[in-house]
Amino acid sequence: MSTFQHRAERIKIARLLRVPVEQLQDLEGLDVEPLRALRVAMADALFIDDSKYFGRLAAVTKLLPAALSASVCERALGALICGRAAGLLAPEDAAAIAKRLSPSFIADIAPELNPRRTAALLQQLPHGLLGDAALELERRGEHVAMAGFVDVLSLEALTAIIRRLSDRTLLEVGVYIESPATLDALDVVLDDNTLVGLVQATLQDPVRLCGLARWR
């Protein structure tokens, strides 16, 4: 069992449950895969909860121009509601609204999204907007949320985003990335300077070695 993967999963579950990770000592005896299955089941159950209401809200947005929907989202509904409703909208409708949101508000929504259920939406967003939102998430230290999107964004989008993030952030996010296949694909976008930066950032704080191991 990989200790850092195990801790990463417990941290993700703690975020879902909105409790400190120290409260999840009961889970220390589980292997990584059951932990991951439990976390996915929790995320899906939270998404399904109240989905009938959010489905109706999503239907309303079809009646409004995207610009007005975006304004209502950002000024009135807030990140929690918009994050939940986003997964129930047709991807093209959600993308039309998202393109009109500020990067700061998209960063607000990001931790509330279920990445697997909003993949089609995310793939339609401009790389520049995703990069702007990623920079805001970086500033807020939202590494767990950032890692959740790595598996669902295109390689082109990830390349554009990675080039804007610091080496330290890549290390921090690397700890929480799930799919080794995605990391293999990302190897091609890390140039020598970035790799040197990753190693230097690791040397400043050896705890980040687990993140470096993910990027290889």
Binding site: A41, L46, I48, D49, D50, L57, G78
Partner: protein, 81 residues
């Protein structure tokens, strides 16, 4: 009931699966957790579901104060059922 699982552990799994909206035969095994540990997870998850629902509806009520009356009526009707 899963063969070989004692009654208290099965009851804890039932509670957790109910909270997670999983069918009784879902292939989620949390071995080697005890019944108490599984029950604590179920209780924590019940708490977060409850909190999330309260937060969502509080956010919606707050939101409704900030939108024009016409749109407020539409949203209220939509979310209120």
């Amino acid at each position: 009931m899963t063969p070989g699982r004692e009654a208290s552990l099965q009851a804890a799994y039932d509670a957790l699966f109910y909270q997670l909206r999983l069918p009784a035969d879902a292939p989620l095994s949390l071995e080697p957790l005890t019944a108490d540990q599984v029950q604590r997870i179920a209780t924590m998850f019940h708490g977060v579901r409850h909190s999330q629902r309260e937060a969502i509806f509080a956010a919606l009520e707050q939101a409704l104060q900030h939108v024009p009356a016409l749109l407020r009526g539409l949203l209220h009707k939509t979310m209120g059922g």
